[in-house]
């Protein structure tokens, strides 16, 4: 184990995987500049700067992945993916099916997402639910440096296109990371804190929010379980359902907008498949259905706070009325 930030953990995974498999290469705007150590070790063929053109960066990755390469592309910030939707969704997501299985697309598309930088909604927009909704793509979003490393390694080794989102708010948070090769399987959630009274289901930096809320709740005698999804697709439905069946209460927490977000999927799933276990209505705490302002206090208020999570759980346990309405603003 060593202590590193998520940024460092990602760099570690990239170096290890590129060493391990010569078909792995990485490109994107500024990749060769910003990852000088990879360039030095693996050369200009495998670590490339590109023109500023997300569409062809993604398209090139799709084409290359079908013929023996395993590209990792950096699309920088999630909203820039809007220029690469055709390549990611219509090509990477559909061409395997459309060709009757003739081709596979082992590629990883990385992007940063979420608040923390104060530079507004053209850089900060959580789009992960789009890719979970589209067929043929896997989607991950780690909450710890160890998972950043392990999920990126697993994503690179996976034979499918994987969208890899890094929460900006976690870029410089550090944690223990296993040395050497380290994979975290795609599709497996992590139980971050066991508890019996309520399941706090989350991903990305909101996992920390839930852990903080759980601390607060513990002081109030409430035992909150915190489940970190890590993979948004495939979604670890069994882990979600097992937790909800255990606690009987569900709060889903994320920064992304509410409507048709991952929280909607989790809440729908739980109410469909763990209905009889639910002792209270499920509750979503999410960012508002609004762009994320640059202004610092607005950005801070966008994602649900630990206090809001704890308060929602409090209301839920009191059992009074509909939790969702009260929580909808957060």
């Amino acid at each position: 184990m060593s202590i590193m930030t998520s940024q460092q953990a990602l760099a570690d995974a990239l170096a290890i995987e590129m060493r391990r498999d010569p078909s792995v290469l990485m490109f994107g705007e500024g990749v060769a500049t910003k990852r000088a150590e990879l360039l030095a070790e693996f050369g200009a063929g495998r670590v490339r700067n590109t023109p500023l053109a997300e569409g062809i960066i993604a398209g090139t990755a799709v084409g290359a992945s079908a013929f023996g390469l395993r590209p990792v592309i950096d699309l920088l910030f999630a909203p820039f993916m809007c220029f690469a939707m055709d390549e990611l969704v219509n090509s990477a997501g559909k061409l395997r099916f459309l060709s009757g299985g003739q081709f596979s697309f082992p590629l990883v598309a990385m992007a940063m997402t979420g608040g923390g930088w104060g530079i507004g909604p053209h850089h900060n927009h959580n789009l992960e639910a789009w890719f979970a909704h589209a067929p043929g793509l896997k989607v991950v979003m780690p909450s710890t440096p160890a998972d950043a490393k392990g999920l990126l390694a697993a994503a690179i080794r996976d034979d499918n296109p994987v969208l890899f989102f890094s929460d900006i708010g976690l870029a410089f948070a550090s944690g223990e990371v296993p040395e050497g090769e380290h994979c975290v399987p795609l599709g497996k959630a992590a139980l971050r804190r066991p508890g019996g009274d309520v399941s706090l289901v989350s991903y990305g930096k909101c996992v920390d929010t839930c852990l903080a809320a759980a601390e607060t709740l513990a002081t109030q005698g409430v035992s909150a379980e915190v489940l970190d999804l890590r993979s948004l697709k495939p979604l670890d439905e069994q882990a979600i359902l097992a937790s909800v069946r255990r606690t009987g209460r569900l709060v889903v927490v994320h920064e992304a907008s509410r409507t048709c977000g991952v929280g909607a999927e989790v809440a729908a799933l739980a109410s469909e498949a763990a209905f009889d276990s639910l002792r209270a209505p499920p509750c979503r705490l999410t960012g508002p259905d609004a762009p994320a302002a640059a202004s610092f206090p607005l950005e801070q208020a966008f994602a649900p706070s630990a206090a809001a999570v704890a308060a929602a759980v409090g209301r839920m346990l009191e059992g009074g009325g509909t939790v969702a309405d009260a929580a909808a603003v957060a």
Partner: protein
Amino acid sequence: MKIDTDYPDALALHEAMQLIRSYEERMTAIQAEGAAAGTCTAVGQEAAAVGVMAALGRDERILTNHRSAGHLLARGADPGRLMAEAMGRATGYCKGKSGSLHVSAAELGVVLTSTIVGGELSLATGVALAHKQLGLPGVVVCIFGDGAACEGVFHESLNLAAVWSLPILYVCENNQWQAFVHRRETMVGERVAEWATGYRIGSAVVDGNDVHAVRAAAAAALAEVRCSGRPFLLEAETYRLRGHFEPDDQAYVDAAELAAWRDRDPLGRSRRALLAAGHDARALAELETAVERRIDQAQAFALASPYPELAELTRDVFA
């Protein structure tokens, strides 16, 4: 499946064009009867398809688009499996999942076909990068339309191919139409090849209705790409003689323009040239009959083929 690269003489080229024409006319008839979904034909563009394919080697990888039956057949695709695909049958090249619009056939080197206009342009750079990086033989041939050249990804693709020196032969089939819009409504210049200059990419324009001219131009262009390792753009000037997507009454098409291009129909020109070169009219008629018989067989094969089972709904989504 054998890849067709061997077109020994003018008669072989003519036969390949005839096969495409018969295939597409049959498909429109089948469509009209309701036995297949709507489809895009490239009637009038056979010389461009056959001329280019006849210039390629076995190792070339080809990306094409929605108007691709000609490319596939000229590359050696089995008309039966192609028709089966167009009819959504399990015996088709893509198990019936693709239908007529996105047929890929890895065994023929016809890969990653997209019916998102411009899709081929966004994918070709990656295939070429793999060729270059892994030292694979063959160059990448990317066939697209004048309409695709208006999509932003055209600019991105050519620019990246130029900057990274990727071995791509871009082939623009400029058939003057982009669905229901004439090319002159969508660009100021007359030719897509003008745009290649900005990327310092070599280009050539060829009479796309003359199969020999296309073959020669494609061979020269291919040699250029092989030798330089850099992209090249070949533009074939041709015309879409039928509608965009069957059925299509072509009410929006200028009758005089259509008539003028009908006179330049590549099959008519090829036939006249063969007769002038001393070929026998009866032999040509027999060739046509033989081709029709192959298409009959193809149709019978397709019609006798089963539809995919319902489990295919969710198969092949993930590796």
